[in-house]
């Protein structure tokens, strides 16, 4: 490093204290969290199992993977997609009124604050608890999964919707008012075009996430591929576990690629 650069770099604001504080805090947290976790190693049984799991994933049960009857992976994945899809649609529809009630620029401050608290309340209840509650309504099966997905989607979707609503360009509306547009025209041509693509993009993103989350609903009997996966694991049928996991990973990767493409098109606005 030559002298000129050295002097220039010396002029940079000294942030040593800042970084030292961060490091100390992080180290302290690291040590504290280590105390709570009982670190166990792989014992002999664990190593044997690990080998079996890898074997199952390398040599999956192909017949099971391509089985299109209601017991096979292909059908179960289809059911999982259906749960995630309907859950996302219902969730995003429910999120629209909620997000308007959350936006301080639309409703008064206290109302927005109360709605926000309400959404936090909805969001912290784990999805499995919702699953159990909805099974009381619908009985075990995919229907309970759809309702659970709808409720758990609301939190994130409405939070992202609010950001869009808050960032609306009000100039357009003022211009339309000055041109004598009616309220309907203002909503149709001033607000909807601004909201629609962002809302859609958020919804597609959430579908992506719901597909991933839908796999755990099976744990409480709310449909999808989760239950067969867990049964296969509990009974040590690793080649079936392998088949399910491979199907799941491929499905999620494909959906992710498609969703990324769609969303970047929506954002850039090109056809």
């Amino acid at each position: 490093m030559n002298e000129a650069i050295r002097t220039q770099m010396g002029k940079a604001p000294n942030r040593k204290l800042y970084f030292t504080t961060i490091t100390v805090i992080v180290l302290a947290l690291l040590i504290w969290s280590f105390l709570g976790v009982d670190v166990t190693g792989l014992d002999k049984k664990g190593t044997g199992l690990a080998v079996n799991i890898v074997k199952g994933i390398v040599a999956p049960d192909l017949e099971f993977l391509f089985d299109f009857s209601s017991q096979g992976v292909a059908y179960l994945l289809y059911e999982t997609i259906a749960i995630a899809f309907l859950g996302t649609i219902f969730g995003s529809l429910l999120a629209i009124p909620i997000s308007f009630l959350m936006a301080p620029s639309v409703v008064s401050g206290p109302v927005a604050y109360i709605t926000r608290l309400f959404v936090i309340f909805i969001r912290t209840i784990p999805s499995l608890v919702y699953g159990i509650m909805f099974i009381r309504v619908t009985g075990p099966g995919a229907y309970a999964g759809v309702l659970t997905m709808s409720i758990t989607s609301i939190g994130m979707i409405s939070r992202l919707y609010v950001d869009v609503i808050e960032n609306l360009d009000r100039g357009v509306l003022e211009a339309m008012t000055s041109m004598g547009c009616t309220t309907y025209e203002k909503i149709r041509y001033g607000i909807l075009p601004q909201l629609f693509s962002s809302f859609l993009s958020t919804t597609i993103y959430r579908f992506d996430m719901n597909l991933r989350d839908a796999t755990i609903l099976g744990l409480v009997g709310a449909g999808g591929i989760g239950a067969p996966l867990i049964f296969a694991m509990r009974s040590y049928r690793w080649n079936q576990v392998g088949a399910i996991l491979i199907g799941l990973v491929i499905l999620i990767l494909v959906v992710e690629v498609i969703s990324n493409k769609l969303r970047s098109r929506l954002v850039s606005g090109t056809n």
Binding site: I5, V37, T40, L42, P126, A142, G223, I252
Partner: protein
């Protein structure tokens, strides 16, 4: 306008302008997309057996459990502290180590740092595959390997954090302006030094903020890991739900809500400071 197969099926409308020129407007895709979406909704209704009338007839059943959670059993709180701290420590340790693992993974995936397409592609795919595996499934696998307890949960969280932070970081690193890096290099700094002075300051705030965000989500997620025996407050939750001891479930959820709220506020404060 270039004619595509789409235009052959759905004829574009043609307008004649005042100066005699004709322009074509591509037929709107909206009706087609709407039909596809309605078909998908119909198929999903069939596959999942959703029957909306059931909500009106049996919807009140949903509130049975919620209402029986009130008032929460405040006496139960002494049984909550230990597993609650387990959960926080699990997600903290998993997030911290995961975020550390994310650094080499992100660097290996960034095409502007390691100029080897094969290596980049491999690590990008690796991160994607890790991210697709649901955390709960990972936790379940780890309970088989490491026994029931917090270790399994921590590892599951660790893997999720590493893949999540890793992905967001390589996207960020790839979009960093390399001009500063090249300028440093041309002034005679080594690659490592140039990286240290040009890239690190640019990327560090995002890294910290993304890691914090991952931690935030992990706390909420760690709460259910107990379901598969991976330690933490989920164990208590599962046990109480099994016994239909809903007032205690209500207490667990209440405490969880307060803790998640506090952690989110703190983390949001720091993330705002970082950006």
């Amino acid at each position: 306008m270039k004619e595509t197969i789409y235009d052959k099926i759905f004829k574009p409308t043609t307008y004649t302008l005042e100066n005699g020129k004709t322009v074509k407007q591509r037929a709107s895709k909206t009706p087609l997309i709407l039909i596809l979406i309605f078909l998908a909704i119909y198929a999903s209704f069939q596959a999942t057996g959703v029957d909306l009338s059931l909500i009106f007839t049996r919807g009140s059943q949903f509130f049975v459990i919620i209402l029986s959670m009130f008032p929460p059993n405040f006496g139960f709180i002494s049984n909550i502290w230990a597993p609650l701290f387990d959960t926080i420590q699990m997600s903290l340790l998993g997030s911290l180590i995961g975020a550390l693992f994310a650094i080499p993974l992100a660097l290996l995936s960034s095409s502007n740092v390691i100029k080897n397409r094969l290596l980049n592609g491999f690590f990008k795919l690796f991160l994607s595959i890790l991210r697709t595996l649901p955390t709960l499934v990972l936790a379940l696998i780890f309970t088989f390997l490491f026994g029931l307890g917090t270790m399994a949960g921590t590892l599951a969280i660790l893997i999720f954090s590493a893949s999540y932070v890793g992905k967001l970081m390589y996207e960020h690193i790839e979009n960093v302006d390399m001009g500063a890096f090249e300028a440093h290099e041309s002034m005679g700094l080594s690659k490592v030094e140039a990286f240290r002075y040009a890239i690190v300051p640019e990327v560090l705030p995002t890294y910290l903020s993304v890691s914090l965000y991952a931690f935030e989500g992990n706390v909420r997620y760690a709460a259910i890991l107990g379901y598969v025996g991976a330690g933490g407050i989920g164990l208590v939750l599962n046990e109480r739900l099994g016994w239909r001891d809903y007032p205690s479930v209500g207490m667990v959820l209440l405490v969880l809500m307060v803790v998640v709220f506090i952690i989110e506020r703190v983390s949001e404060y720091f993330r705002r400071k970082l950006s």
